[in-house]
Structure formats: structure tokens, C-alpha cells
Symmetry: C2
Subunit: 202 residues, 2 copies
């Protein structure tokens, strides 16, 4: 049974707008996204955008979900590719995989964090869930080097380590705090010493 023409058109337009937004963000920045450009790309009227998405913020969040899923894919691949190495090596590989994604998808990655929602706009749960997936990859090797610790602590630490590496990358590309060619060695330096410190305890 075919879906109604209406729903079919709506789904097509949904995808067309998402594709257009993703391409435009990738090619310039999220701040340069314009409703009229999207409508022109998708071959629809200006108002049609608002039949499919609540507003531009919602559209951007959908692009962000796609980006999160691509990051997840990248990290999953990195996790698989180095599955037999030591946990610490895998953690470093994961950090580098994330860094590589940032370098190769700069504007889409920036859109994830640069685009600040209006004050009343709630960060949707499905975006938070999309982020959560990422920590799975870190948690796996980390739970080996933190064997015996509380699962809650391991889970928290996976998130904090991600946030820490993310901070190093972010303050490098956005604020020149960390020199670009220091990012990779510093992520490695901090991870190695953190893990070494873990095993130096009790």
C-alpha cells in the first residue's frame, strides 16, 4: 500500500531540505545558512520549510544528528580497526579518529557546538542520545584499564575524557590556545599519563 501523496512529498522535501542544509553548512558555516537558499535548493517555497520543520533551528538540529551519527560511525570503525591493541592504544586511536573527523568535517562539526539555540529552546533528547553513543566506544577500552572500579565511575570518566579531548581540539581550532600540531601529541600525552596514573594507584 503506497503512502499518501502528501506524506510522500513531505518525506521527499524533508530529505531535500536536510541535504541542502548539510551541504551548505559543510561548504560555508551554520551561520551562513539562509531559509531562502534552502527553499531555492529544494525547489520549494519559503513557507514550505515550515510545513516540514518547526523552524530553522529544528532543521539544523537534524543536520547535527546526522553529523553525530557520522562521528559515531568513524569511532566505531576506529574501535574495530585496532581491536587487538592495548586499551590505551585504542583510546589514543579513538581520540585521533575524532580529531580526524573534526579536520575533515570542520564546518559540520562546528555546527554541532557553535549553533546556540534560543533560550527557551530545549536541546532535544534525541540529540543527547546521539551523543551518548559516542561514549560507548571509549568506555570499552577504558573499562579494561579501570577494571574493578565502579561502573558509574568508568562511565563518568569515559565522558570526561571525551570532553577533555574535545576541549583540546576545540580550543585549538577556535581559540588558538593549543597549537594545531600540538593537538595530537598532547591528547596522547595526557591520555598515556592518565592511564599510567590509574595503574600506579593501589
Amino acid at each position: 500500500m503506497p503512502v499518501s501523496k502528501v506524506l510522500e512529498r513531505k518525506a521527499k522535501l524533508h530529505t531535500a531540505l536536510l541535504d541542502s542544509a548539510e551541504r551548505r553548512i559543510a561548504e560555508s558555516t551554520v551561520g551562513q545558512l539562509r531559509a531562502r537558499d534552502l527553499a531555492a535548493d529544494a525547489g520549494c517555497s519559503l513557507g514550505a520549510i515550515y510545513n516540514v520543520f518547526e523552524d530553522l533551528d529544528a532543521l539544523i538540529l537534524h543536520v547535527s544528528l546526522r553529523t553525530l551519527q557520522r562521528i559515531d560511525l568513524t569511532m566505531a570503525q576506529a574501535g574495530r580497526a585496532y581491536a587487538d591493541e592495548d586499551p590505551i592504544e585504542r583510546m589514543i586511536k579513538l581520540a585521533n579518529a575524532y580529531l580526524e573527523f573534526v579536520d575533515g568535517n570542520h564546518n559540520l562539526w562546528r555546527a554541532l557546538f557553535d549553533h546556540t539555540l534560543p533560550e527557551d529552546y530545549e536541546l532535544p533528547q534525541w540529540i543527547i542520545d546521539g551523543q551518548l553513543e559516542l561514549f560507548r566506544h571509549i568506555e570499552e577500552p577504558l573499562s579494561l584499564v579501570m577494571a574493578g572500579q565502579e561502573p558509574k565511575l568508568i562511565s563518568q570518566t569515559a565522558r570526561s575524557l571525551f570532553a577533555a579531548m574535545h576541549g583540546i581540539i576545540t580550543l585549538s581550532v577556535e581559540r588558538r590556545v593549543v597549537a594545531p600540531d600540538a593537538v595530537e601529541p598532547q591528547m596522547e600525552f595526557i591520555l598515556r599519563n592518565f592511564v599510567k596514573g590509574l595503574s600506579a594507584s593501589t
Copy 2:
């Protein structure tokens, strides 16, 4: 010799606009800043803003410099207050001082990083310099626990550690990656193990 009335007025307006912008950012967000509100606050015309500042971005950057200087002051105080403690304890105190500033000056802090400049707009050198000051505070205790290492490495590591702690705080308040009550213990956990790992090396 009194400065000309023109320059006097200009200086007064400069301060009045900065004060108004700072107050308004602190009370709502940088995204809610409106040129017309600033003019009303400062008792000047709309156009007068542009006699004193290049544009609103420049005004916001000046507020950011003030914020950076206040962060510097906070960290300097923390550094002094715990001057006789172990280096690692001082590093933890510095991280907590930064966290405390973020909690107590949320919107001004967010303005530092949320406000993305137009693509052509160069991040001014005096903002970068303002950031650099912050790393001095970390470099001091860090150079004790990294005694004998290359000064270049110590300097890089101070920046990376700041960026790492900043990342943990940022992804906590903006993205819910790290639970709020986990931020402080996690910063401490990561710093302690990192430093422990350092001394575990040759």
C-alpha cells in the same frame, strides 16, 4: 591640560556602552544583546555606538576582554591562596577556581565562547593575549611536577590541561555530557592520575 570635550565624551560613552553591554549579557545572554537597548541605556543615539565601536562584535569582544581579566584575577587569587600546598593540589584548586567562575558568571563566560565572529572577522590579538595570561597560573605548579622536561612541552601541557578542564566544564553546562555534580570530582580525578602518571615515568 584637560582633554578636548570630544574625547572626554567619547571615553564616557565607551565606558557607558561597555557597562551596559556587560550588564545585559550577564543578565540574559550575548545573543539577546540589542544595539537599541545599549543606546537607550547609555543615553545616546543608535548611530553613536558606531562612533565609538567598529560594530557590535567589537563591543562584545571588549566585554570578553573584561571577562578574561576577571578570570585571570580569580585564578591569580586561587594561586596565591594555596601557594604552600603541593603542586597537584594547587592545580586542582585552579581548576575549581575556574569552575567557580563559570558557575558564578555563566552568561559572561558563555559570551566568551558562544559568540562566533563573522567569517572575515579576525580574533584580535589582544583577546588571544588575554587568554595567554591564564596559562601562567597553571604553568607554575605544572613546571614543578614536570621538572626537567622541555619548557616547550610544559607550556603546551599547561594549555592542553586548561583546554581539557574547559572541555569538561563546557560539555557539562552546554551539552549535558558530564553530569553537573561529576564535574569537580572528574577534573580532580583526571588531574591526579595524569600527574601520578607523570611521576611514574622514568
